[in-house]
Amino acid sequence: MKPTPYVGEFEYAVLLALLHLEGTEEAYAVPVRALLEQRTGRPVARGALYTALERLETKGCLRSRMGDPTAERGGKAKRYFSVTPLGVKALKAMHASLANLSRGLEAVLEQP
């Protein structure tokens, strides 16, 4: 059993975005970036996203497969990602630690 890896803030966001898109034909870099920018309202550097994806895969949080080449991509395949059980675990751990940290601060955090 591998130890649960630690994921950083940006990696946490990428994992969440991938969970949203999982099972659709959208689980690759372009929609992920669009979703991140749309939901967080911040620009996401292309290179940073690729770095995070690669790093998460190395940590075992993500699995990737190559799709079929399409004409609109100049005959290039998409790289689809899916979150592994280990990735879900890491996500839960991060989520739990954040939840633990924010317990008792509801008054501050949930004010409009």
Binding site: R46, S64, T70, K76
Partner: protein
């Protein structure tokens, strides 16, 4: 620019290639470039194609940089482990594995000393740019001046009688000989003849003298060139009484007819005769000699039977399977047969068959380009020596680093490789900067040659930074890298792992072997620079003699106009006389003109007519050396106007008119040559085919007609009135700036004939300057290169001495503390500079003497190497290099000894 929906939207090719090259993992490569493409299509449909391409570059560059920097992989290694891994890497990694890491190392090493790196890159860039410019010149003007299909199958045939022609006379084939050849030759599939034809284009608001050629039909087919539109000449166009037809160059069609698509079928007045336009040639086709117009040769049978007048330029295309040699052999046989068949005209005729590029090129270009190329290579060598020296110094500085890496287990080969990679980085930067410099230099150099000269420079239109030039520069850059980084690399690989590191603290000087190598490199720079400076000085000397030397006439304050009257309207000799008289009267009437004269040719126009001289009472001896003289026709005031002195007898006067007895003046050189120890005045001569006996009435001073051959031609001056020619040149001496009279001269010509254009309207100074423009260009380029070499050699010497002085700071401190005087300490370092400079100068003088001899033989005796020039150049260089070495020595000696001793 928005593509229609059907066209695929393609991102910038180079950006995509760059990106794909940067991403090493194949899956990532597809994913990343595919993602970008997908978004590119979206951006293109939203913001337009052009904006999308810019967007693509903006996205691709940082991505490529990110991947290339390999941040993806090492970022995975936690910092603590990475540090531990360094030793591991040094010990175990194979050569060439992890190129990005090597590159990063190299990059960091270069950035540690930005000033040094900048000097190196700048040195390389300048040397490489000089080489690129010269390569481009050589390629465009010498190697490939003509770029149409199968140009290597084309030949130029010349056939002169060998009499008094010191140069290759291309226009030397007689019409009847040409016709025989065309009938009989089997090694040549096409043969075309051309005749100079610079017609006056009139019947328009702005008459103009055009450049062109009369050609035999089939000329364009021989060259394999199709007209842009219209047709080429047919055999019917070449019949004697056919409608005159003409084909225009693309440039003329643009310039004078605003690219009128309906030009074919219209009629132009050329030399007073209507010519029907039948075609326009494609852009940039101006063969030969910047032609604007081509018209068919339409000789009658009598003209085609002429074997005497030889003025045709002849091109041929080799038949399939034939070579230049086989064509030459056949032509030699045919010409030998003709010599027997027609002894009267063809007895002395010889044939020359050369390739098209050689035949039409300027003979001088080859040697010029060769000398340039040699100079550029010398410059590159100097730069390499300079860079190698700087890198050696830097290598000494980095010895602790190398020692530590060796101690950690790195192989020597790895260290050497590291230095080579650094060299490659420097070279890549050097090539990049050099490309910009070269492009600017080529653009500048294009503007340097005057319009009148450009016409005679085949290949001029190819002077630009093209792919071949860039490739040559990159190749030279690679070569230079190997040359300059090999020495430091070998040095680095030789050092021991511990000794330098240990001794670093105490080291006062570099190991002796290395110092010796550095001195050698600095000395070589001095030697090569002397050779370059001498070459430049010799050329500049020749240029000054040619441009500003004694010419035998006064070229200041002269306005000149060169023109050619068209033959048809000026058949009548009286019309020619009248034209000249009207123009001269008008010129003399101008208030600032003191004298005005006319002649067939002016000095420095290279258009003098050569004729055979017959002296009365002397037998005609065909075996005697050529009796060729220049025949000049001049108005009475001409000699006075140019300040050509009359040494004996009288000058030409108004009394030597059409009806007066035929007279002539001869130049001093002619008098010495043909009447040695004898008074030529009163003797009678005959010139050329003219049967008239002419009485010599005076002797004039000599003038230099032609700087390039450095010859003073024996000249006969006949009154223009007695033999009026179609070519007339006017000269007027003015009290002020001659160019202010340009408009008045124009008006004077218009008053005589409103249809008559002026070919060249310039001051005599300009005429001379244009004549020497070629050598001037050459001299300037060489001077610039030797200047750069000088600066490089000086920086080389200075940096070497500064470096040595800084390494010896401690030693100097000890010496001063022990009682050495400043002077002694300065001498310690400066004497070394002196020894290097003297050694370099000795080698440089030897090199310069050899170079001077090569230049003398290559440049037709134009160059006279003088011991004075060589000695002066060598002395100057020794003095300045010693000065460059003295400055750091003095600075080192001036410091406080205690300070110096504490310095580490």
């Amino acid at each position: 620019m928005t593509p229609s929906p059907s066209t695929p939207v393609i991102p910038p090719d180079w950006a995509e290639r760059l990106l794909r090259a940067a991403v090493r993992d194949a899956d990532w490569r597809d994913a990343v470039s595919g993602d970008l493409r997908e978004e590119f299509a979206a951006v293109a449909s939203r913001a337009g194609y052009t904006a999308a391409r810019r967007w693509y570059w903006r996205q691709a560059l940082p991505l490529a940089a990110r991947f290339a920097a390999g941040r993806l992989v090492p970022a995975l290694t936690p910092p603590r482990r990475r540090r531990l891994a360094v030793a591991d890497i040094e010990r175990t990694s194979r050569l060439g594995s992890g190129w990005t890491r090597e590159l990063r190392h190299a990059w960091r090493a270069l950035w540690q000393r930005p000033a040094l790196s900048a000097v190196i890159v700048g040195t390389l860039a300048v040397a490489l740019a000089a080489n690129a410019v010269i390569f481009n010149l050589a390629d465009a003007l010498y190697l490939r001046p003509f770029r149409f299909a199968e140009v290597d199958r084309l030949i130029v045939v010349a056939s002169d009688t060998g009499a008094g022609k010191p140069y290759f006379d291309r226009e030397s084939v007689a019409a009847a000989d040409f016709r025989d050849w065309r009938r009989t030759l089997t090694t040549v599939s096409h043969l075309a003849a051309l005749e100079w034809w610079d017609p006056n284009f009139s019947g328009v608001e702005r008459p103009e003298s055009l450049h062109g050629f009369l050609v035999t039909p089939g000329y364009f087919e021989l060259l394999g060139v199709q007209p842009l539109f219209g047709r080429t000449f047919t055999d019917d166009d070449g019949r004697p009484h056919a409608t005159r037809t003409v084909i225009l160059s693309h440039a003329l069609w643009l310039r004078r007819f605003n690219a009128d698509p309906g030009i074919v079928g219209t009629t132009l007045r050329l030399d007073g005769t209507p010519h029907e336009v039948v075609g326009v040639m494609p852009p940039r086709f101006v063969v030969p000699y910047g032609s604007d117009v081509w018209a068919p040769i339409a000789y009658d049978d009598a003209a085609w039977a002429d074997r005497k007048r030889d003025y045709l330029l002849t091109f041929g295309r080799l038949a399939d399977g034939q070579t230049l040699e086989s064509a030459r052999a056949e032509l030699e046989a045919v010409v030998a047969r003709q010599a027997v068949e027609f002894p009267e005209t063809n007895r002395n005729r010889q044939v020359t068959v050369v390739s098209f590029s050689r035949g039409l090129g300027d003979d001088a270009v080859g040697p010029f380009v060769a000398i340039w190329q040699a100079a550029a290579v010398l410059l590159l060598l100097i730069a390499c020596a300079n860079v190698a020296n700087l890198l050696l110094a830097r290598g000494t500085e980095r010895q602790p680093e190398f020692a530590i890496r060796l101690a950690l287990g790195a192989s020597r080969l790895r260290l050497a490789l590291q230095l080579l990679i650094e060299g490659v980085c420097l070279a890549v930067l050097g090539v990049a900067v050099g490309t910009g410099l070269a492009s600017a230099a080529i653009t500048l150099s294009r503007g340097f040659l005057p319009e009148t000269v450009v016409r005679f420079v085949p290949g001029y239109e190819y002077l630009k930074l093209d792919l071949a030039t860039f490739a040559a520069m990159a190749a030279l850059g690679a070569l230079a890298t190997i040359v300059f980084s090999l020495v430091p690399a070998v040095q680095a690989a030789r050092g021991g792992p511990t000794a330098p590191a240990m001794s670093q603290a105490r080291a006062s000087t570099a190991p002796p072997g290395r110092q010796w190598l550095r001195s050698l490199l600095a000395g070589a720079q001095v030697a090569l620079t002397i050779a370059l400076v001498v070459a430049a000085a010799l050329i500049v000397g020749a240029l000054n003699r040619a441009a500003y030397g004694a010419t035998g006439f006064d070229r200041r304050n002269l306005i000149t106009a060169q023109l050619t009257l068209p033959e048809a309207p000026y058949k009548d000799l009286d019309r020619r006389r009248q034209f000249t008289a009207v123009v001269l009267d008008r010129l003399r009437a101008l208030p600032s003109v003191t004298e005005a004269g006319a002649a067939t040719v002016l000095p420095y126009t290279n258009l003098a007519a050569s004729r055979t001289l017959f002296v009365e009472g002397r037998p005609i001896d065909d075996t005697a050396p050529a009796r060729t003289v220049d025949l000049q026709r001049a108005s009475p005031d001409y000699l006075e106007t140019l300040r050509i002195p009359v040494l004996r007898g009288r000058g030409l006067t108004a009394g030597d008119g059409a009806g007066a007895p035929p007279v002539a003046l001869v130049s001093q050189r002619l008098a010495d040559q043909y009447f040695p120890g004898d008074d030529p005045i009163g003797r009678r001569i005959r010139v050329g085919d003219d049967a008239t006996w002419i009485t010599i009435v005076g002797v004039t001073g000599d003038i230099v007609q032609d700087w390039f051959l450095g010859r003073i031609n024996p000249t006969v001056y006949r009154p223009l009135e007695q033999d009026p020619t179609l070519r007339v040149m006017f000269a007027a001496r003015t009290t002020g700036d001659p160019l202010q009279l340009a408009a008045d001269v124009q008006r004077a010509v218009v008053a005589a004939d409103p249809d008559q254009p002026i070919e060249v309207l310039a001051s005599m100074d300009e005429v001379v300057r244009n004549k020497v423009a070629g050598i001037n260009y050459f001299a300037q380029a060489l001077t610039l290169m030797s200047g750069i070499a000088l600066v490089l050699a000086l920086t080389g010497m200075y940096s070497l001495m500064a470096y040595l002085a800084s390494r010896r700071t401690r030693e100097i401190g000890v010496r001063v503390a022990l009682g050495a005087t400043r002077r002694q300490v300065t001498w310690l370092t400066a004497s070394r500079a002196g020894r290097i400079a003297l050694g370099g100068a000795a080698a440089g003088v030897a090199l310069a003497v050899a170079l001077g001899q090569v230049m003398q033989s290559a440049l037709f005796g134009l160059i006279t190497p003088s011991a004075l020039t060589i000695a002066a150049s060598a002395l100057t260089l020794v003095v300045v290099t010693v000065a460059a070495g003295y400055l750091p020595a003095r600075r080192a000696a001036a410091q406080d000894p205690w300070q110096a001793l504490r310095t580490e």
